[in-house]
Amino acid sequence: MLKINNLHASIEDKGILRGVNLEVKAGEVHAIMGPNGSGKSTLAAVIAGKEEYEVTEGSILFDNEDINELAAEERAHKGVFLSFQYPVEIPGVSVTNFMKTAINETRKAKGLEDMPAKDMLKLIREKSELLEIDRKFLSRSLNEGFSGGEKKRNEIFQMAMLEPKLAILDETDSGLDIDALRIVANGVNKLKSKDNAVIVITHYQRLLEYIVPDFVHVLYNGRIVKSGGKELAHELEEKGYDWIKEEVNA
């Protein structure tokens, strides 16, 4: 589904990614871990199409198509979803109107009519129940005055509404208490199928107790320096990242 080859990316001429290789197949869950500043969030943003980053080398193939030249919205239409580490507040646009616009614009891009209002309401009801989101919450301005946990839950609600092929969860566990973490993880797990894939970006192993990865990768200095199974996450939790750094620098 996703094939990243020798990806180099920079922002304002500062190289952040320096040769990332990663392949994610349908049905898989990958975790990307690593110390602060290793390029985890950059990798997520580059896959999603943030224009500030420039890809200087390498390629990103999504369903065998090079998506590097595509705008963020075109990637979204193809099924790429990024759950933001810091979801942006947009005063004046309600959660419901935002989702209606996102879904109908995606449908428009695929040559489909707008979703009938009745179906939209049903979908919103169904998915908000899945994330245990109060109906009143949906008429509030997007992310404005939301607590950290509410923001993250709202991200996964959007993911549930859009049903992406590839979901990238960037530090979704940060700022979540244990109950919210369980709700979010439960939501992600229910949405998982053999046809979609998830990349979990996290600093800690905590979320991986709930969303169990098939593969764990360690990103350090803009490269994936170690890959393994879920036991690698435990090892990192126990030993920290210093031994990885030493291994790389040796």
Binding site: A48, A71, F98
Partner: protein
Amino acid sequence: MELKEKLIASFLAFENEVDTDTFIHNVRNEAIKIFEEKGFPTKKEEAWKYTSLNSVLKDDYSVFPNQENTIEYNDVKKYFIHDIDTFKVVFIDGKYSSHLSQTTHDGLDVCLMSSALTKPKYRLIVENYFNKAATKDSLTSLNTAFSSEGVYIHIPKNKLVQKPIQVIYFSTGNESATMLQPRNLVVVDENSHVQIIERHQSLTDNPVLTNSVTEIFTNKRAIVDYYKIQNDNLNATLIDNTFVKQKQESVASVHTFSFGGKLVRNNLNFYQTGERIESTLKGITIIGDKQHVDHNTLVHHIEPNCESHQDYKGIFGENSTGVFNGKIIVNKEAQKTNAFQANNNILISDKATINTKPQLEIFADDVKCSHGCTIGQLDESAMFYMRSRGIPEKEAKALLMYAFSNNVLNSVKIPEIKQRITKIIADKLGVNLGFDL
């Protein structure tokens, strides 16, 4: 001949044509003298520092379009708020159009300034109110000198007017360039409530210069909601001089939606002459091309315990320029005043400009006054967030602009106006978002 000379030369002929009531005659004569002395304002004047009329004044305007022109309702229906029942007072090239209008004398007067200025039954009101709020600056004086037609609205006390009143000035462009000077008078007596919608619309690309004066008087506990929809074409210039004089416990609001025109100057003045008055001045400006919109507001707090709220949002694209100059005066006697002013702007082009200037003159010591102005760009992180959800760039921009204007739209009390404004914004941005915010 320069426009100024042309106007002064035309004055005598004009005066001979209209009925000369002594009171009005004197007012007009005094006014033309002021205009003769001051002339059109130039950039040398502080209040006109950022707005030049030079490009507007060079056209050879016909100053008294005399022809009776007609237009079919179906051709101009889109300029009306037509999905609700309203009173309508419609003018074509400065002349009253009875077939497009629906006036009334049934318990309230919604009719013509020309009647009010000449018929004895309106005499008392006219003598008490006409030109009593308008200032003696040159443009207002010019209008006063030539005042003959416009809308006259008098709401007697304890009357809740169920239907909004629409006042529309069309110009047909039958003359190569037209100057219009509508004069409106609105008097709302004790405990009454009225909603008014005003629009100036030219129907061709021929230049039009409108120098309009509106005086609004709200007596004790009266409520007035006034909406100005400015979405004219690129050769139309509007100078709108509006004066709102409020008495105790009255509540007045003016919303100004500026989306079009070559040059728009809104001189909006509020005078609070009583206690516990509320005044609201709000506006949304979205322009592009080489358009210029200037909001020049004044709120004069004269008595204690009053409030004023100003909230102006502006979005400027291409080579457009905007001006906001908001003056608040709090007299020494006006203790416990609560005056709020905000002006937020977004520049979506490198070539667009906004000049914003709050001016506070506070002579009382126990007041709450706040003001703030911001100039920024569309939030890039918000853009990426929306685009990553599949919302294309153009729609994402539009959504952010809606969101930005939302505060002002939310205080519009007539839902049909809100819908109309939303639609104008969507049309202007070339998007169809399929929902109302």
